[in-house]
Amino acid sequence: MTGRQGQGDGFCHEAYFYVDGDEFLGGTVPFVEAGLAAGETVLVALPQPRLESLQGALGPAADEVAFHPMEEIGRNPGRLISAWQCILQAVDSSRGVRGIGEPIWPGRNADEVDECERHERLVNFVFGEEPALKVMCPYNAAALDDEVLAAAERSHLYSSGSRDAAPPEPIALDGLLEGPLTPPGRPGVSLFFGRKDLRMVRHVVSQCARSAGLDTRRNEDLVLAVCEAATNSIQHAGGNGRLRIWEENDNLVCQVSDAGRIEDPLVGRQRPRPEQITGRGLWIANQICDLVQIRSGDEGTHVRMRMAIPGVAAPAVSLPDKRLGA
């Protein structure tokens, strides 16, 4: 069964449900070929096995497509919108652009899936005015939970493929900074910081990163991200905040909390413009951490940043997807 392609002009954001390798290619190959035939720029971000499968199926036409492994570009879903924006800025938009992005695959944990769902809902608002952009998001309907698939239906303008999809509803943008975070693990560190404590915060994060075995570069990245988040607390949330650090499921997690309020659900997700004063710190954190979760409400704001601890099996695509064959 093949999926419907983007219809007519205008921004198009489609969830495509597949149950096996044949159906995956049955939807993605015609989508790519239609774009190439129309002279459009075609971009594909997929987990490595699916990326190779599509490359193989396209044959020589694959040379005209820009491929990006989703494990890198979408490692932290918070960086995906910015990545797409950068790519779009670099291409000739008068030609039309279409992309395939599969941010959720079996094996991504619940927190990553949750962030992907928030990202998908935001895509409609960030790119909704791009008349010449069509995006297809494949979902493995055989292996992903029904809740994940239902959320995908809700966050895309329409769905296709083998799932019996409910009719699309208007996409809700509220609540994107709401929702609980899992309770913090047993903290190795829990401290309050003020204006004069950033140096101490950096020292503590660096020590924890060293103990967890992060290499120098990832250590420095995490220190930078946490310092940027703590700086925000000092600048925008009354001059102080709280830092908690713990290890959880082979990740080192740093959470910066304060009494401030963030209103913009797109905070940190778009590449800062030169004249932009605020929002750079969280954008930087999104580029360099493996996962960033931002929650904000009346009771305050939490920025939770995660780095995978080395020596553990890479979290992306950890289960072989037997249904897709070789």
Binding site: R195, K196, L198, R199, L224, E228, G281
Partner: protein, 274 residues
């Protein structure tokens, strides 16, 4: 590279090191000077002490150095009252001071010493807030001059007579200081013909960075800024740095070298060029 960072004693400073020393009691500065001078005696530099007290009292404070009289008679030690060399309350005459110290260093070399080593208690020069900016600029210029000759200096400032903000600025333009890193987290100083930026810069120190770069990057001769000793900088600091290096590049030339990984990372992320 010249000694830089936090020190807790006057010992261990080399032939052209330059340290900012904050103290409360005059004998504290005298003790640090004694440690400083002991190294100078060993390495053969002529010692110069500049203080706000009369010379006779200075002799008393320095008696642990040895036979002070003999050192003075032999030209190995010179004592001055501050008012003999400076005019407290008036703006520092930078050119005159540079000439004076250069000439004194040359004279020491001509007299068979290996250079000049100056311990100066100069609080009186900064009691008037109107003198602060010029004085910080002077220390920065003096530092760069010193980095090219065998002239070492220990600059004493009484902590109870001047505000912390001034002390921190002064510490920033000395390569070494006994002021805690939490108060003065970064340093800008001369070394091997370059201007070195060391330490850590974040929200707390960004405004100081902006001010100090204003003072220190004046002029039109080509400049090289060495960032190899920078341990941390956030994006606010990087933007401040970029503003100044670009302005300086337009005015007379500014090259940046030894960028540490964090600078490279931030420049790449923010598409910034220093």
């Amino acid at each position: 590279m010249r000694a830089h960072g936090c020190i807790d004693s006057g010992s261990g400073l080399g032939v052209n090191d330059h340290a900012c020393w904050s103290f409360d009691e005059p004998q504290e500065f005298a003790d640090a000077s004694l440690e400083f001078f002991a190294d100078g005696l060993r390495t053969g530099q002529r010692l110069v002490f500049v203080g706000s007290e009369p010379v006779a009292e200075q002799r008393g404070r320095l008696q642990e150095l040895g036979d002070v009289g003999q050192l003075i008679d032999g030209g190995a030690l010179q004592l001055f009252e501050l008012r003999d060399l400076y005019r407290p309350g008036e703006p520092i005459d930078v050119d005159l001071q540079v000439k004076t110290y250069t000439a004194a260093t040359d004279a020491a070399l001509a007299d068979g010493f290996t250079g000049l080593r100056v311990a100066a208690e100069v609080t009186e020069l900064v009691l008037d807030p109107d003198t602060w900016e010029a004085h910080v600029r002077w220390e920065s210029i003096a530092d760069r001059v010193m980095s090219t000759m065998p002239l070492a200096a220990l600059c004493g400032y009484r902590g109870d007579a001047v505000p912390d903000s001034l002390l921190n600025d002064l510490a920033t333009v000395h390569p070494a200081t006994n002021i805690a890193a939490d108060e003065a987290p970064f340093r800008l100083f001369g070394d091997s013909g370059r201007l070195v930026l060391s330490g850590e810069i974040d929200l707390f120190s960004n405004e100081t960075l902006d001010r100090i770069l204003d003072l220190a990057l004046e002029g039109e001769e080509p400049l090289t800024l060495d960032l190899g000793e920078l341990g941390f900088i956030d994006h606010h600091g990087l933007e401040t740095l970029a503003t100044h290096t670009r302005r300086r590049a337009a005015e007379g030339g500014c090259r940046v070298c030894n960028e540490p990984p964090i600078i490279q990372r931030l420049c790449e992320l923010l598409d910034l060029k220093l």
